[in-house]
């Protein structure tokens, strides 16, 4: 056996602490009786009560969920069809086209936000949920596209051929063989898209209307009037929901794949 030092453990400890101590603090303070975050006034569920009475906050949360679900569904359909279509055709500029279609990931959000705003204003689309869904869909598509594309590349080419050989029309081949086999990739792409949509502030600020607030935008604007412990309670609840979603994703058995692609996304 190799003689191991304690150094890797220490390193891991520091990294984990840096990541999770702030979160644990937020969770802890969400149960704090005192209004001032830095003073511990005893255990209380007061802020949760306040949160649940805050209708505006809940409306914002609801908006965010609707937006996330709609935009990730749209992105799933468009991204999957795009990746499938790309896998079927061959042309000289294919690589360039694929690159361009994943570009929104690399374009700074502030630019995307301005572009969307200018565009919607130009075509006269009223700002609100519609513009939000369109904007969020378009920056979510690359995630689905890339995950599904990777899955299609790794798929045994003879499977769809075998289905066709057995008498399936191209549509049946897609529905019976290709779609079920790429479904885990679509799902993890959707989860990723949902997560991106859920915490997007910048693009949303540009394209949202006066009376459609998303949760991140709402929280961000509240910062100006000072953070109330109510936000801590909200963060705690969201963190719990995130853990739950991650658990579901892990159960689907696609977590390693997703991480891999995420890395690919951020590297360039």
């Amino acid at each position: 056996m190799k003689n191991r030092t304690k150094l890797p453990n220490l390193y891991l400890g520091v990294v984990l602490a840096l990541m999770y101590v702030p979160i644990l603090l937020v969770i802890l303070y969400s149960f704090n009786e005192s209004k001032i975050s830095s003073v511990w006034g005893g255990f209380s569920l007061k802020w949760y009560g306040e949160l649940f009475r805050d209708r505006e906050m809940f409306q914002a949360l609801w908006n965010s969920i609707v937006l996330g679900v709609l935009s990730s569904l749209c992105a799933a359909v468009i991204g999957t069809l795009g990746a499938y279509g790309m896998s079927k055709v061959k042309f000289p500029l294919k690589g360039a086209v694929e690159y361009v279609s994943t570009l929104p990931i690399m374009i700074p959000e502030i630019i995307l936000g301005m572009v969307f705003m200018a565009f919607f204003a130009l075509i006269g689309l009223p700002f609100g949920m519609t513009t939000l869904v369109i904007a969020h869909t378009s920056f979510s598509i690359p995630y689905v596209f890339m995950l599904v594309k990777a899955r299609l590349v790794g798929m045994d080419k003879s499977l769809p051929e075998a289905a066709q050989d057995l008498g399936a029309s191209p549509v049946r081949v897609f529905l019976d063989v290709t779609l079920p086999l790429v479904f885990p990739a679509i799902l993890s792409g959707m989860l990723l898209a949902f997560a991106m949509s859920m915490d997007d502030v910048i693009i949303s600020v540009f394209v949202t209307g006066v009376d459609t607030n998303t949760l991140p935008v709402k929280v961000y604007t509240q910062l100006k009037t000072g953070v109330t412990p109510e936000i801590n309670a909200l963060c705690t609840l969201l963190f719990a929901a995130t853990l739950l979603l991650c658990g579901v994703a892990a159960l689907l058995g696609r977590a390693p794949k997703k991480q891999e692609s995420e890395k690919d996304v951020t590297e360039p």
Binding site: S158, Q164, L166
Partner: protein
Amino acid sequence: MSETILELQEIYKSFGDTPVLQGIGLKAAQGEFITLLGSSGCGKTTTLRIIAGLETPDQGRVLLEGRDMTQAPPNKRDVNTVFQNYALFPHMNVEQNVGYALKIRKRPKGEIKEEVKKMLELVQLSGFERRMPGELSGGQRQRVAIARSLINRPKLLLLDEPLGALDLQLRRQMQQELKRLQKKLGITFIYITHDQEEALNMSDRIAVMKDGRFQQVGTPSQVYDSPLTSYVARFVGTANIVQGTVGTVSGDLVEFVGQNGKTSFGSRGHSFVPGSPVTLAVRGEQAQAVKGEEGPGLAGVVKEKSFSGGMLRIAVELSGGEEFICSRHGIDWELAPGDRVRINWQPEHACPVDLPRTESGEG
């Protein structure tokens, strides 16, 4: 002659600048077992894919039961394929895999179930309906793939090295089984392999392929005993190839003049002109190596002696530098490395090959 199921007419195919098929022609009758034999890259898989409709030829026609199907997609052809890696749908169980072709054709559920049961009995996998492909051994997957492609009773079954991934013992067993199935169902099989033993064992006819062309199409005994080209002789029978010139011709007996001695061969109905070059194929077990420097035959020196598969083999280096392998049964041979020998054979055992073609065997 029974009905022609498949006819390939002058098929040409290139991928980019690489020509893969250069004028393939073949006719297959109902119930025939035809093997495409060749080393990898010779174009046999492409030929199969063109028959299945997974590739379109650049030139030439594919006729199925007399109808031109060259442009028809795979799902419109009464042809099924057993893929090299089986290509079982990993998300469907055995029953769903086998029944897929019938499900596509919207047959009633009960009927599909019944048919699947029959097919699984046929390939001796009864009771495996609920298993997933990942839970099966290689041999079992193979059987599922065969059952799946047979369920729709195609007129023609294409098999792309179906036994390639199995171990030797299982291969032998599956060879027998496939042959039995084919006889029982009376379906035409086009079978791909690079294993000449498998080809000789199972086929009614063998098409030996090289560089996108058929070198010879014939029965196993034609291909084995009367190879047309030196490639076929080497590939199918691991024959020795010797080159020389034609000496005197007296009836069926032709004198062979090599660099290293004289002997003779049977003309096999071909005409030979004295002085012209000739290539002979001689099987190792049909050649005799006799110690000594006198007498007829090709002179050489024993290089190596080895024993394998119940045969004793000696490698003789002929004076011209070519290698000649002799083999015989048993373990005793008075020859040892370094001995000078003369190699000779019965005239009828030497087959002249690579003759200018009068007509090709097929299409």
